[in-house]
């Protein structure tokens, strides 16, 4: 049963993630495959486990089924514990009525009772759409040392991209003195990573009063943080310099996969001191046939490669048949690229079949996307930037 914990993590696994198009039509964003062996949620969950944080609430209301099955008892991340563990927390009915999560802060508010069970000193708020390795214990130590009400992880981004982020302006001591949401003329390039450590008692009070404000969007960035600034609370920034990549769009998801093929690699997943854990699917080693050719690529369990694979990331159970070509693409679990088909600069989602002679994607232009379980009839040509799902195609 729940026991007192120093710190509890709450992962905002979010809404529909519609910028990912047809990929999230039947899958919650955190359950999307990444890097051949992983799902996006493996990164925050593994970070928690490696940081010694052993209570993680996953707040989700969109397609939780696959996520539920994927997380299961939490064993892949060593989170199948009696005294904690990982909990999937959709909204629930209270006193006869129920409501969906209206904003990030409201999602936490609706789960106050969950958090209170562990009587934590601190709460770590995470979001579920970034690829990064981060020691939250170090961030927590920083928070405790600074005696802050909230510590916000920040990362320097290119100046020209500041207008896409929440920008934190700090004083010489690292205290946040101003917060600008997507500023046109930023004063600094410290972007919020959406990773917060709150002193729980402070956050608890803030959430309760924010909930009583009918004008609030119940959002951390829009409401909670500005209120804290206005109230004169101590907000500190925690600088993070490692690899950190949003995977919220088709382009950025493809990009982040391609990053794994760079030399030197910007995020090392071979690193044994900070493993990224994933649920295993129990397939044999992959097989490269005499006709197979693979270079500059990641290939994993269960794949059978009889064609040519270049600059691509292949997930478990992918089949590339004779004379098929896979170039600069991301192929998700159990997809099949049939004889003579050519896939270039594309994402092929789970269980899709690209029949023989198809041409998917082009050398230039936007990334092409073939959705889950889609069967692309022999000889089909799908130009750059198009999305094809089993329900039909969109651009």
């Amino acid at each position: 049963m729940p026991r007192k914990k120093k710190c509890v993590a709450m992962l905002l696994a979010g809404g529909q993630g519609s910028r990912l198009g047809i990929l999230t039509r039947h899958t919650a964003k955190p359950a999307i495959p990444f890097g051949g062996k992983y799902r996006i949620i493996d990164f925050p969950l593994s970070n928690c486990s490696n940081s010694g944080i052993d209570v993680v609430g996953v707040l989700t209301q969109w397609q939780p089924l696959e996520l539920n099955a994927y997380i299961g008892s939490g064993s892949p991340w060593d989170l199948d514990l009696s005294s904690g563990g990982v909990y999937v927390l959709p909204p629930y009915m209270k006193a006869g009525a129920g409501e969906w999560y209206s904003g990030t802060a409201n999602a936490i508010y609706q789960n106050l009772a969950f958090i209170e069970q562990f009587n934590p000193d601190y709460v770590l708020i995470l979001s579920g759409d970034h690829i990064y390795k981060m020691d939250y214990a170090d961030m927590l130590a920083h928070h405790i040392e600074k005696e802050a009400a909230v510590t916000i992880a920040v990362r320097q981004v290119p100046w020209e991209e500041c207008s896409r982020f929440g920008i934190m302006n700090t004083d010489a001591q690292g205290n946040i003195i101003e917060f600008e949401e997507k500023p046109a003329n930023p004063k600094s390039n410290n972007a919020s990573m959406g990773v917060y450590v709150f002193t729980w008692q402070k956050l608890r009070d803030l959430l309760i009063s924010d909930e009583q404000n009918p004008d609030s969007d119940n959002d951390f960035g829009k409401n909670i943080i500005p209120t804290m600034l206005a109230d004169g609370e101590r907000l500190t920034a925690y600088s993070f310099n490692g690899y950190w990549k949003d995977v919220g769009t088709i382009e950025s998801l493809w990009d982040a996969n391609m990053d794994l093929l760079q030399t030197p690699v910007p995020i090392d997943l071979h690193d044994r001191s900070w493993r990224i854990y994933a649920r295993n699917i129990g397939m044999p080693p992959h097989y490269i046939a005499p006709s197979g050719e693979v270079s500059g690529s990641l290939v994993t369990e269960g794949c059978v490669i009889k064609g040519s694979v270049k600059g691509s990331v292949l997930s478990a159970g992918v089949q590339v048949e004779e004379d098929a070509q896979v170039i600069d693409s991301v192929i998700m679990p159990s997809a099949r690229i049939a004889k003579g088909a050519k896939v270039i600069r594309s994402i092929i989602a789970e269980d899709a079949v690209i029949e023989s002679g198809c041409q998917v994607g082009e050398e230039e232009g936007d990334i092409t996307l073939i959705g889950n379980n889609t069967v692309l009839k022999a000889g089909t040509v799908v130009p750059a930037g198009q999305q094809v799902s089993k329900e039909g195609s969109t651009t």
């Binding site: 051949g36 030399t263 129990g282 080693p285 290939v299």
Partner: protein, 374 residues
């Protein structure tokens, strides 16, 4: 769902012809097919037959086996009611220590047999790679009104001159004779050192055989039973191919067989995964310069050189200019630049220095022991 069979795996075989491969580990812990140990196939077969209470008899050098099995979680065998029971030697004063044979091992672990609740018990050695549905074996056992059902194969690759046990099985499936280590086997049915029997009967048999001074289950007890026809002994044919790991040569050939798709399909059924200990490795990285052909490659490798007709275990590194042909390379080996290897078996954590050339004769591969740098 009905759980009627308890499993018992004997891992105490000593097979000298496996040389350095089993000097530091039991055959059950022998690494095979890129990411497995022998015991994974036995455990997975049992689990898919709804056998969820499994005892594992350990003998010596069982550290790597225990380490591999851990808490049993990877096989969903970590339950409090069901699950995996490790039965190491030297645990109580009743224990005889070094087992001369399976019978000794059964006697020392009779408590496990008694405590189990299932009506039947499936007992198996661990040096044969095969896939069987124990529920079918049980159905056959019941249909034939057998007291003991022996698992056998007609796969000719399992036959050895001067070694092994062979069964005379009649058209009704009854076993009449058992040949032990014949110079040339008379019968085409090779006994696979696995049998199914009523649990209570096995307890009786062990009790009585021990008082008779027997040590060996097959050579003494089974032979005796067949001679005096005191019980009905039947045979159940294991479908498909089996791979007997009784020498470095047969081990090498067995692994290489799995470069053929049909053989992989015989053992790897997508609906019945073979579970093994996880390493949480990332996918294998094929760098520029990688040139891989007809090979099975596990995760976590970094390949910059040439690999042909080979099996790479997890975490192997092949540096630029290196060439590996007809080899089995176990986990975390590092093959430095411009190495040339052929017909070699590299145990775990071997490093091969730059420019080294090593080639075994085809069919008689060299073995490089664990953690060596050559």
């Amino acid at each position: 769902m009905k759980r009627d069979i308890v499993g018992l795996i004997y891992t105490g075989e000593r097979i000298d012809q496996l040389r350095d491969l089993t000097r530091i580990r039991s055959v059950a812990a022998l690494p095979v097919l890129g990411r497995y140990r022998m015991i994974d196939f036995i455990l997975s077969s049992m689990i898919h037959s709804e056998i969820h209470n499994i005892g594992i008899i350990m003998q010596k050098n069982y550290h790597s086996l225990m380490d591999h099995l851990g808490s049993g979680r990877e096989w969903d065998l970590h339950g409090k009611r069901n699950g995996m029971t490790i039965l190491p030697p030297y645990m109580s004063r009743d224990n005889v220590g070094v087992y001369e044979g399976l019978l000794d091992a059964l006697r020392s672990n009779i408590g496990f047999l008694r405590r189990s609740k299932e009506r039947y018990i499936a007992v198996t050695d661990s040096h044969i790679l095969f896939s069987v549905q124990y529920e079918k074996m049980l159905a056959h056992h019941l249909e034939n009104g057998a007291d003991i059902t022996l698992l056998y194969t007609k796969d000719r690759s399992a036959r050895r001159n001067g070694a092994g046990r062979y069964l005379e099985v009649d058209a009704q499936g009854t076993v009449h004779q058992i040949e032990c280590d014949p110079s040339i086997p008379r019968y085409e049915n090779t006994y696979m050192s696995a049998f199914l029997v009523r649990r209570e009967l096995l307890i009786d048999l062990v009790d009585r055989a021990v008082s008779a001074g027997y040590h060996h289950f097959t050579r003494e007890l089974l032979t005796h039973i067949l001679r005096d026809k005191s019980y009905k002994v039947c045979g159940f044919e294991c479908p498909g191919s089996v791979w007997v790991m009784d020498s470095v040569e047969s081990y090498f050939k067995a692994n290489m067989d799995f470069l053929v798709a049909e053989n992989r399909a015989r053992i790897f059924n997508p609906d019945k995964p073979v579970w093994t200990k996880l390493r949480d490795e990332m996918p294998t990285h094929y760098m520029d310069g990688a040139d891989v052909s007809n090979s099975l490659i596990a995760d976590g490798c970094i390949i910059q050189g040439r690999v042909e007709n080979s099996i790479l275990f997890r975490g192997v590194q092949i540096k630029p200019g290196a060439s590996v042909k007809n080899c089995i390379v176990m986990q975390d080996a590092i093959i430095q630049r411009n190495v040339e290897l052929a017909y070699a078996i590299l145990d775990k954590q071997v490093t091969v220095r730059e420019n080294t050339r090593m080639m075994g004769p085809a069919g008689y591969p060299l073995v490089v022991p664990k953690a060596l740098t050559i």
